[in-house]
Amino acid sequence: MIRFENVSKWYPGGVADAVDNLSLFINEGEICVLVGSSGCGKTTTMKMINKLIEPSSGTIYLDGQNIETLDTLTLRLNIGYIIQEIGLFPHMTVAENVATIPVELGWKPLRIKARVEELLDLVDLDPRLFGRKKPRELNASQKLRVGIARALAANPMIMLMDEPFGALDPVARTRMQDEFLTIHQKIHKTIVLVTHDIDEAIRMGDRIAVMRNGRVLQFDTPREILSHPADPFVSELIGDRKALKLMNLISCAQLMHDVSEFRQTWNRDFKAGGTLPGASTIGMQATAQDALAEMFRTGERFLFVEDDSHQVQGVIELDDLFKSVSQGDDARKQ
C-alpha cells in the first residue's frame, strides 16, 4: 500500500527530525506504528506520505504510484490526517468541521448531511446533540472523535495519525485506543500512527517500526518486538515488565489445549460439562495476562476457556503461561 524506497530527508544544520535511507512497506488495512523518541524522524516520515514534507532523496509509492507524480491536493484529500491538537476549525460547528472535505469535493448537501450523521454515529457522538456544537464546547476525547470523523469524511484509503491520543488523560487514552481499534475493524483503513509511547504502539500496532536517528531499528509485529528486540535501544524502549506486556498480546484461544489430555493428567472428578467443580473459566478473547490474574485470584494452576455460548473449548495451565512468554521459547511463536 505504502512503500518507502531509500527515502532520506536531511535538514541544514542538524540531525533532529532527519530520515536516513529509510525503506518500509506498509500493508493495506494494517495499523503501522512509527515509534521512537522526539527527533527520531517518525513524524517526518509520516509527513512525507501526504507531501507536507518533501524527501531529499528516494521515492514513496502509494498503491504502486510514485507520489511525486500525484497532485498534492488530490493526494491529501485521499489521506485522512489527524494531529495531536486535532486542529478543529473553531468558527465552525462539529457538523461543518466533519463536512469540510465533502464540501471541498462539491458533494450535494443531502449526501453531506447523511455522511456527517453516519460518521458522528461511527465515532459515537449523537449527531443531534453534537452536530451544532462548537469545538470549544467539547472535551479532549470528543475533539478526537470529531477529528477522526472529519478525517474519514471522504472515505480515504489511508489515515495518518500523529500522536492522536497525546492530549488525553490516561483513562480516556486507553478507552479511545480501544474504541479506535473497534472503529478500525469496521473501516479497514491503512493506518500510519506516530507515537513516542511504546505501550500505545504495542496496543495499537499490527506492526511497529522502532525508529532512532532517522533509521528503522526494527520493523515487526508487537509480539516479535517484545520477544526478540533487535537492538539494545529497542530493549530499553520496551522497558521492564516485558513479559507482562507480551502476555497482553496473546489470547487465551491461542494458548489453550485440549481438555481430554488435561483430564488424563489430573485424573480428578469432572463434571458433565467438562470442567472441575468450582473451577474458574475465562473467555477465548481474554489475554494471557487476564488468565494469569484469574489464576492468582483463584489460587488454581489452571482454568478453562469457554466460547461465547459458555461451551468449554480448552484449558490453560500455569505452565502454558510461562512457556508463552519465556525467553528463547520459539515453539509457541505464530
Binding site: L73, I86, G87, H91, E104
Partner: protein
C-alpha cells in the same frame, strides 16, 4: 456668538460641513479598509515583506498628521484629494497591523490540519484564516475609523471642507460657538461610530471567536 445662536443661524452650513466631513472620512475609510485588508493579507505570505510594510506604515503614522497633509499639498494640491490620501495613509497602520496579527496569531495547528487534509491555499484563506481573523480586523477598522474622523478635522485646514472648517475659522475669529459646534459634532460622530462598530465587533466576536 453663543453656541445656541450659532446652531440656529447656521444650521444649513453645519449640515453641509457635516455631510462633507462624512463623505471625506467614509471615502477615505472605504479605500483604506480595502487597501489595508489586501495588504495585511498579502504580507502574511512573506515575512520580509511584512517587516518592511509594517515599518513603513508605522512611519506614516509617526509623521505628525498636519505635516503629512502639508507634504501632500505640493503633489495633490489643496482640497479633498489630499485630505483623502492623507487619511488613507494615516489609517493604514492600525488596519494592516490588525489584519496581519489577526491571521498570524491563528493557532498554527489549525492551519497544519487544514493543509494536511488537502484544502487549497485559497480555501484555507477564505474559509479559515479570514473568518478567524475577522474579530481582530473589525477591531482594527473601529480604531482606524475613529482615528479618521478625528484627523479628518485637519482636512478643513487644507481646503477640503468638513467640520474642521468650523474649528479653524472659529479659532481665527474667536467665535466660541463656531469652535464648539465643530468640536461637539465631531466628537459625537466619533463616539457614535465607536459605539456602533463596537456593537458590530461584539457580534462578530460571538459568531467567530473560538
Amino acid at each position: 456668538m453663543d453656541l445656541v445662536g450659532f446652531l440656529a443661524s447656521r444650521w444649513q452650513a453645519i449640515l453641509q460641513l457635516t455631510a462633507e466631513h462624512l463623505v471625506i472620512v467614509v471615502t477615505a475609510m472605504a479605500i483604506s479598509v480595502i487597501l489595508g485588508v489586501v495588504i495585511g493579507i498579502a504580507i502574511t505570505f512573506n515575512r520580509a515583506a511584512a517587516r518592511i510594510v509594517l515599518k513603513f506604515a508605522n512611519l506614516m503614522m509617526t509623521i505628525p498628521s498636519l505635516a503629512l497633509f502639508a507634504l501632500l499639498i505640493p503633489v495633490l494640491g489643496l482640497g479633498k484629494a489630499s485630505a483623502i490620501v492623507g487619511l488613507v495613509a494615516y489609517t493604514q497602520l492600525p488596519l494592516i497591523r490588525t489584519v496581519y496579527a489577526g491571521i498570524m496569531t491563528i493557532d498554527s495547528t489549525i492551519i497544519v490540519a487544514a493543509r494536511g487534509m488537502g484544502l487549497s491555499d485559497r480555501t484555507i484563506l477564505f474559509k479559515i484564516k479570514v473568518p478567524l481573523a475577522l474579530p481582530a480586523v473589525m477591531a482594527g477598522i473601529r480604531t482606524a475609523a475613529v482615528m479618521g474622523i478625528g484627523i479628518g478635522a485637519i482636512a478643513g485646514y487644507i481646503g477640503a471642507g468638513g467640520l474642521g472648517v468650523f474649528i479653524f475659522q472659529g479659532i481665527n475669529r474667536t467665535s466660541d460657538g463656531m469652535v464648539l459646534t465643530g468640536a461637539i459634532i465631531l466628537s459625537l460622530i466619533a463616539i457614535l461610530t465607536d459605539q456602533v462598530l463596537g456593537q458590530v465587533l461584539g457580534r462578530v466576536q460571538r459568531r467567530f471567536d473560538p
